[in-house]
Amino acid sequence: MGMTMTQKILAAHAGLDSVAAGQLISAKLDIVLGNDITTPVAVNEFKKAGFDKVFDKDRVAIVLDHFVPNKDIKAAEQSKTCREFACSHCVSHFYDVGKMGIEHALLPEQGVVTAGDCIIGADSHTCTYGALGAFSTGVGSTDMAAGMATGMAWFKVPSAIKFNLTGKLPSNCSGKDVILTIIGMIGVDGALYKSMEFVGDGVSDLSMDDRLCICNMAIEAGAKNGIFPVDEKTKEYMLGRCEREPVVYEADADAEYEKVIDIDLSKIVPTVACPHLPENTRPASELHNIKVDQVVIGSCTNGRMEDMEAAYQILNGKKVADGVRCIIIPGTMQILRECVERGWYTAFIDAGAVVSTPTCGPCLGGYMGILAAGERCLATTNRNFVGRMGHVDSEVYLASPHTAAATALAGYITEYKEA
């Protein structure tokens, strides 16, 4: 029986000719990732278990991104734990303030992850790297500790849902609208324990930033991973960037899928997930009566260059509506620098927005844009759970950077319409 793309990568890393859905395997890891919240717990477990060295100093990545620059004394202690561990084990991919970015924007940008990799990260959005044709999944801190110590992890081989993409996205839509539409269709556990494999003629039209965004939110449908085939765009993106040689895997022609879902990209509309689940999706055009207090453009989902470009195109020369706080957070230092170079940073300030250094901050209600009781935010982030961005009685609506920027100008939820 044929294998899916995910199964092929897992088989290769388990040293097996083939694997089948449901099989328990032990697989070699190419990268083990953690951040400033999950790494301290992993470090503690690592030490408690009596391990004294990491399996490979070049295969561990530790990124300080959730609460840095340190939001308070306790956060500073957590950063310090990460820093000391990284230093004492000579971890080569340690990213501190000044070098850091939001982990899932940073690792692909810096070429730390590549096609064909098997990656675990103690962060649920580790599934992002499937955009490069890697198997990549989120785990907890104990798995991170075990991965750092042994370079191995256990997996139950997932079955898969195939998403057959056709057509071309409308110009006011992006990858975010695609993945929100899909989560709206299948629900927040619609792909539980499964792979989401994106294929079809429509893939070639999607940019790498679109694909990274789509795979990023696979976890919001409960999936183990999301994955795209490697095409010319992927190869071009990886060329001269990835520090290790990409390995291209393809699904077998007779691979088995639990389900095949057809998505016509030309029919996608600007989509918003309403509180308090990412599956509560509605077209933005039906939500014009919803006023907002805050707009956030950033996060591991939408803090990349094309997201900044969408914000710039819409906000440039305009003013953010009175009563709206618009917070823009470029995902990495390189993206931030590029925004400065291109004059976008100035345009954002002139529009009445604020720009922050890279951080996960507001997405998880950490800092840099916390909501009061009764307040409402439209954000390009990935979760709108109860209390996610602040007070338990606040609300988060999820949307694309186009919709977010248009909403910031209007003061109420609206889709972007080209003039």
């Binding site: 328990l24 785990v139 907890g140 798995d143 556990d189 539980l192 759970f385 109860v386």
Partner: protein, 165 residues
């Protein structure tokens, strides 16, 4: 191994942000974090929960973030077991890895009520609702996972493997 206690019942899609809100995640200290377990959907939980009590929930329990702090605070509060119709996959892994017993059983999750007295036998997967007298059988774990649980978590099982190998 088993547990017995009172039931705290929750709906579908209980996410890790309500199990332990990220605003408290500036510390890895489980005891300090446990003071805030479930507070965004149930402010009474930490006041009432006693050692051995059982959480019963619907589909997709523990969805969202990968924070291991979520199963850890549930365990630290004294909760003896979580029964749900299904678990989000990272929560499922984390619970096994840190030694929080979890069981999937749709019928039990539907029929058991809040405040019922329930006992759970982890070896057999048998759940008994002492209040109603009904029993349920949950899916047992595959042997590979049972080994992790018996060793007391993933890292201890790895160390055992190292010593045996």
């Amino acid at each position: 191994m088993n547990t017995q206690g009172k039931v705290f019942k929750y709906p579908d899609n209980v996410d890790t942000d309500v199990i332990i809100p990220a605003r408290y995640l500036n510390t890895p200290d489980a005891k300090e974090l446990a003071l805030h377990c479930m507070e965004d959907i149930d402010t009474e939980f930490v006041k009432k929960v006693q050692k051995g009590d059982v959480m019963v929930a619907g589909w997709n329990f523990g969805c969202g973030s990968s924070r291991e702090h979520a199963p850890l605070v549930i365990k630290t509060c004294g909760t003896g077991c979580v029964i749900a119709k299904s678990f989000a996959r990272i929560f499922y892994r984390n619970a096994i890895n840190i030694g929080l017993p979890i069981l999937e059983c749709e019928e039990a999750a539907d029929e058991i009520n809040s405040d019922d007295e329930v006992s759970v036998d982890f070896d057999t997967g048998v759940i008994t609702d002492i209040t109603t007298g009904k029993t349920y059988k949950a899916q047992p774990f595959p042997p590979f996972i049972q080994n992790i649980i018996k060793s007391g978590g993933l890292l201890k099982s790895l160390k055992e493997g190292e010593n045996n190998g």
